[in-house]
Symmetry: C2
Subunit: 515 residues, 2 copies
């Protein structure tokens, strides 16, 4: 019964009389206990006068609002009418982008969706710059305010779309990387990026929206997905939850690629995780023509091996504006297969023809000429973007091999590889294999799980078992620090070719040597 993070319980208490002098709040608590398996709820001081006053004003009848947190249930509000929709917000607190849904906590139905750029970007596109900004006077306060403002904007949008007031959002679950959670909670991120990379807290206890100056109901509980370390955050735990990795009998893997590549491998017996910097190549907004997977983003590319014609699909089917991560991978894989780039990821001017033009910082390959694009500007891929992608793909593969090697599992032993994030939603694993980014396994091994960070946050809102499971599974995870791992460094060097220096690792990919 007690599943959602917040509950509403209908109350119809007898009014007080000379024969029953129970205090107002005590009366309400007594009426609620049978609905709470006999537990007497507690009322935090700052809600006392409101709850008791509203209960009396409503004639001792109406609906109580109960937060379900560790310890006794918490009675936070009383409304005179039955609560038709008890709304909760699930939030994926991304470094560059926030994505959120509004759920009906009674039915689990999604009432609205929204997304927004992270307002902290003005203090730095990447986490490291923001961590440094946080060390300045007022820096942390600015970053905190920026993210709270963004969340409030999202909340207002969600509430508006569902026809609710923003203060009618009664719960919030937050899934974010460890740094974002530190900014969100306004706690010092200084040690996150300094050896030995220690968070101020991995598993913060739930707090209340009012404590963070959130615009949703001030007594809404804010439940944050716990992290495992500085580089393995709650967003990944959310992914484990959503994919069910921690409940599988067979060994599986979850991969999430953004600026960092985070990987976890295991089953219901054990879980081992690591993370490493993958570079910004796959993050929308970082590569010159890169963009987030949204309308106008080229998400799939094919190059006709005979004619050299480039065919592409954009999200929303409109004119192209840029390349999202999956489009970028498709494009580069096709450029390799049509031999327009070499195994080091360098353009081959002799093969690229007219499409290759010199730019201010090296060659640029014209994917879409200006006349066919959304804004009249050509969509191009620069050598610098290509170099960045090569580093990212090398880091990804090096992480995967280091991790599996450490646990003594071969890639072929993996029953399933869940691919998470915006990357996972659109990527074609085949093209990632061509690049040597993902291991050369049957395509059926790969299962995209979409924004599993958001999916996990949604489950946190709805299922007490999911909340419990999260707290337990983080304790089970062994984390391997790659920042100081020699093996990783060696493997990274070997992976900076397409598909790899050891061609035998990628039997399905054509290998064009000695050009």
């Amino acid at each position: 019964m007690l599943n959602a993070l917040v509950h509403t319980i209908p109350v119809a208490a007898l009014p007080p009389s000379l024969g029953d002098n129970t205090g107002d709040l005590d009366r309400l608590k007594k009426a609620l206990a049978p609905h709470l398996n006999g537990a007497i709820p507690v009322v935090p001081y700052h809600r006392l006068a409101k709850v008791a006053g509203r209960f009396r004003a409503a004639g001792f009848q109406g609906s109580a609002i109960i937060n379900v947190l560790p310890g006794p249930p918490v009675l936070v509000d009383f409304l005179p009418q039955p609560v038709v929709i008890l709304a909760g917000m699930a939030l994926d607190l991304g470094t560059t982008h926030l994505e959120a849904t509004l759920l009906d906590l009674g039915t689990g139905a999604i009432l609205a969706r929204a997304d927004l750029e992270n307002g902290q970007i003005r203090y730095g596109a990447d986490i490291l710059t923001r961590i440094h900004h946080a060390a300045k006077d007022e820096g942390l306060a600015e970053l905190h305010r920026a993210i709270i403002d963004s969340v409030n904007q999202l909340a207002a949008e969600l509430a508006g779309a569902a026809g609710l007031a923003v203060a009618e959002i009664r719960a919030l679950s937050v899934s974010g990387n460890t740094s974002m959670v530190h900014f969100f909670l306004k706690i010092n991120p200084y040690h996150l990026c300094r050896e030995p990379y220690i968070p101020m807290v991995n598993a913060p206890d739930p707090c209340l929206a009012g404590e963070l100056n959130l615009a949703i109901h001030p007594a809404a509980p804010v439940w944050l997905l716990p992290s495992v370390g500085s580089y393995f955050g709650g967003d990944l735990i959310s992914g484990v939850l959503a994919s069910g990795l921690d409940q599988q009998t067979e060994t599986c893997m979850l991969i999430d690629v953004g600026t960092n590549a985070e990987v976890i491998v295991g089953n219901r017996e054990w879980l081992i995780a690591c993370a490493g910097a993958a570079g910004p190549a796959l993050e929308g907004g970082v590569a010159r023509m890169g963009m987030r997977a949204g309308p106008g983003a080229i998400e799939h590319v094919r190059i006709d091996p005979d004619s050299g014609e480039i065919r592409y699909e954009t999200i929303g089917k409109g004119k192209p504006k840029g390349l999202c991560g999956s489009g970028l991978i498709d494009l580069v894989a096709e450029l390799y297969l049509t031999r327009q780039i070499d195994i080091r990821g360098k353009f081959r001017p002799q093969a690229d023809g007219d499409r290759l033009i010199p730019g201010s910082d090296g060659y640029q390959f014209v994917v879409v000429p200006g006349k066919d694009s959304a804004d009249g500007q050509p969509v191009v891929l620069g050598q610098v973007d290509l170099d960045a992608l090569m580093r990212s793909k090398a880091a990804m593969y090096a992480i995967l091999t280091t991790l599996t090697n450490q646990v003594g599992v071969a890639f072929v032993d993996l029953h399933r590889i869940y691919v998470a994030g915006a990357f996972g939603r659109h990527i074609s694993p085949r093209q990632a294999i061509v690049l040597g980014m993902l291991p050369d396994l049957p395509l059926a091994t790969y299962e995209p799980v979409g924004n599993s960070s958001l999916a996990g946050a949604q489950r946190i809102l709805l299922e007490s078992a999911a909340r419990q499971r999260c707290l337990e599974l983080v304790k089970k995870i062994t984390y391997i620090e790659l920042n100081v791992n020699q093996e990783f460094m060696l493997r990274f060097s070997g992976s900076r070719f397409i598909p790899h220096t050891e061609h035998a690792l990628f039997p399905s990919v054509p290998f064009f040597d000695g050009e």
Copy 2:
């Protein structure tokens, strides 16, 4: 082990390393769990950055401060050194007077004592006036501020006497009547004095000192003794706790007399309580020459039946300033026994001689002439004071008889009668019996328990069993509302004579009829 409301636990954790990336706060919680029977403490959001920051700054070694409340233990602070004295304040939150002690929570030793007039008196000497004041704009806020200011003043005095900073007081237990608790918590007392006399809350959950703007440590838990109803407050529950009434095999009674007379009778099986207005006669500061039991107060009076000489004792042995409650009862009993007042409590001019002088509102009896008093003004007893005392004593006896009659217990069946409050500390039960205020029982039946409100608050600070017992015993108490009780009204009329209209009830008291 977990007895005091606040604990300190020494911590010596290993510093983080690449092989152990536990977050700072998670590390501290883990180190504490073995000292908390395996329970993982929670950290409220507003303490998170402080606790984690101080733990790191102290090199992961020092002392944690833990609040022991319902639900998981609450980690609220971290200090680099061992805590020598963990101090808690026990407070008797009286309508006219506050009394407090500072305890060493480690040893239970009393470090300091202090008392102070309740600063709310400027808004009304009696509770009813203050409840009416609370209904005005800002009225409740003013009353709240006044009591918090008084408590802060007391806390500063206690801390100073113990050589501590006021913020080193880490816990507060509060025992007060229901109205005072409402003012203290800044919650609406409107319905307390209106039929059916319902508190906003009888058993408030603990809050934190910072939430009430108290000057002691902001994260100090504030534990309030629960009340049974508007007229039977936490101060009485404190008395039950201190006297052990709820644990006796034989039926006993606890009496507390102030402006209200509160009585509870019972044993470990059952408890029945009632309360009624006794009038202000016995409260210091209300009767014209009345004063609190403090230095200069006449606390005992004897009148030589032959010479008419008045002998008295003052508290502190100095010159008299006025009469405290026990002195007043002694005086009036002696005036009756020497036939200077009649059975209706009226002066008998023919017997009072020179001591009786006319005043602006009737006769005044000169107890101490100006030349012998502390301030040169005579200490007098006016007919109006006498009339007030007659009402008080009648109310007291009517309450006792109504209650025992309702439960079918005769006075002689009472194993012990605990007499609480300033009244109980100094009163001679014999003289109260002469007046017909207390039943005519062997004097050994009466046991003064002093300020049991404060004594109970002290136990709350030190003993988790006492906290638990309080919450359980309030549920066991049946409360009888006397404000609308016909039997009480009848018994009150019969009690407005010395000792009583039914002389047979007081066989030990001389009866002077038909004068």
